[in-house]
Symmetry: C2
Subunit: 337 residues, 2 copies
């Protein structure tokens, strides 16, 4: 067995280094509400991998039910209404704030929800859109794209593209913002790659929260932040199983699965967000650098102590307000000139 070195005397070399056991205190440098989220244990059931299609569906339904149960109170508190609709033949939801400011009257955001490529189908996918409508005040159309186990790649990007194409018939591309977090953030970039390939205009701006733009397992934070992120825990296990389910035999380095490997020249202005404990901090940072190297206006906003998309977990946390303020400022700047 290899020797484990005490902290401060860590071996190096081509095989990497060992980091010993350590205790992570709950940081005092975040709000009290965020401290409560950071103190949460990792769900011990999270990393079990369903062993059959039925088990996947049961796991997914249970998770979606939990989200759904929270939505009526959230909509009411934020004064947001949600109506089912369809866009380009794809199921979607109109998510509307109590009031839309005059300068945003022609602006619409297209939302691609997150959920590790399997969760948040149906109305459960509207949660992030409700926050955006309620806390940032934008009109949102949330796309209920198809997902595994029944619909692996390319169903999700097909649906996202169909919805975007349909939206272009009624809205000025320069007034459209695309946004999403995690798998939804990655799908935003995939939709841009597909749209460009089909000669469609780019939207006016995008906002992607911790976009999982590399499904191959690359990215340093997948190692450094494993077990530190208390939302996802590790890439290995459940998350990697959803990649297999989604990719269905394709090379995960295909840019339409992992847009970190795509050509991003000409992409619209982008705001990327993450947290210092995020398992996918590296994905976010790598995508940010890639965009900037390609000459895209791209800005990065990070939050102290937060794990994967934790800025969305508690609508009453000051950090959640800050996140929406930053995104609203960015989108206003680029969509309402």
């Amino acid at each position: 067995m290899e020797q484990i070195h005490p902290l401060g005397q860590i071996a190096g070399g081509a095989n990497g280094r060992y980091v010993p056991v350590r205790r992570l205190p709950v940081p005092a440098t975040v709000s009290v509400r965020m401290q409560a989220l950071i103190a949460r244990p990792l769900d011990p059931a999270f990393n079990t991998v369903p062993s059959s299609t039925e088990a996947w569906k049961a796991r997914i339904e249970a998770a979606n039910r939990n989200v759904l149960a929270s939505l009526p109170a959230l909509r009411e508190r934020l004064g947001v209404t949600v109506e089912p609709t369809a866009l380009g033949g794809v199921s979607a939801f109109l998510v509307t704030p109590k009031a839309v400011q005059q300068h945003r009257k022609d602006v619409v955001l297209l939302h691609l929800h997150g959920g590790v490529r399997v969760f948040n189908g149906g109305e459960a996918g509207t949660r992030e859109a409700i926050l955006m409508a309620g806390l940032a005040g934008f009109r949102v159309i949330s796309v209920d794209y198809r997902m595994p186990p029944d619909f692996p790649f390319p169903a999700a990007p097909d649906d996202a593209l169909a919805a975007y194409r349909a939206l272009l018939e009624t809205a000025d591309a320069r007034r459209i913002g695309l946004f999403g977090s995690s798998a939804g953030g990655s799908l935003v970039y995939v939709t841009l790659l597909r749209a460009r390939a089909e000669g469609l205009p780019m939207p006016g701006a995008i906002a992607t929260g911790s976009p999982t733009v590399d499904l191959s397992g690359a990215g340093d934070s997948l190692a450094t932040h494993a077990g530190i992120d208390n939302v996802l825990g590790t890439h290995e296990g459940f998350v990697a199983a959803t990649v297999q389910l989604y990719a269905a035999g394709r090379d995960p380095r295909d840019p339409l699965l992992s847009p970190a490997y795509g050509a991003v020249e000409g992409f619209p202005p982008a705001i990327l967000t993450s947290g210092t404990r995020d398992l996918y901090l590296s994905n976010t940072v790598r995508m940010h650098r890639r965009l900037r190297d390609a000459g895209v206006q791209a800005e990065l906003q990070l939050w102290e102590g937060q794990s994967h998309v934790q800025y969305m977990a508690d609508p009453e946390a000051p950090e959640t307000r800050e996140y929406h303020d930053e995104v609203a400022r960015f989108l206003d700047h680029h969509l309402t000139v």
Copy 2:
């Protein structure tokens, strides 16, 4: 003894969580030159704390000698000249690139070097300034501020302020950029606090790399990235000892020691940089948020896999070039309009 939980089943609660031993591979998502830096072991001697003033001086002199030995070749390769000078009675160095672009002819950068509050006295402090002159093409004046053990706080901020005040006599504040990394980055903010208190104009822009703006030990990454950062290792030990030496009995939460606690309203545009393995990533992120909350134009740039100011360790790494390109673009935008 408390139970250590396996990865993926980590206990939570007010006492925090445990993260077990893990191996960190060298990431393939950075350049080959950066991989060589990331693969380096932590220097096992780094975390020994000198036991006397003489031992501190010997440690500091040895470190400075190492840096000094590398400077002639660096200056020659980058075509940079360095001349001793004085500014406001403070020892300093004029660091001049081979050629200065016409649009920058009135621009000058004031450099406050890093070095954990004790290292890089004398000409050793010019290394970062040589990189900035050579790779970004700016004229730089590097301040050789006084440091412990002979000169604890407030000698360093006194010298930095005296140099800035003197520079204002010959340069337009709007054409002055302040920059520095680590302790030097923090000293940039301290200098702004002092300058504002004395009614001096703000410089046109600042660039701070992983500024150690909180010497109290707060900041989540001090826990999450302990032992992951292979430049500093941990805050506890040598680094904390330099804080004691520097603060000399003052409360480390004094904003002139830890500008993270200062009022930053009215500060000039700022670019902040860090890496995903940086022990002080949280300091950088917290300062960035604080600046933005105060309405300051502040942008954040991160690099994949890098420990504390590792983007300065190898002048030939592509990431080092990218860092200087980003800083040059930002300073040009704000200093040469």
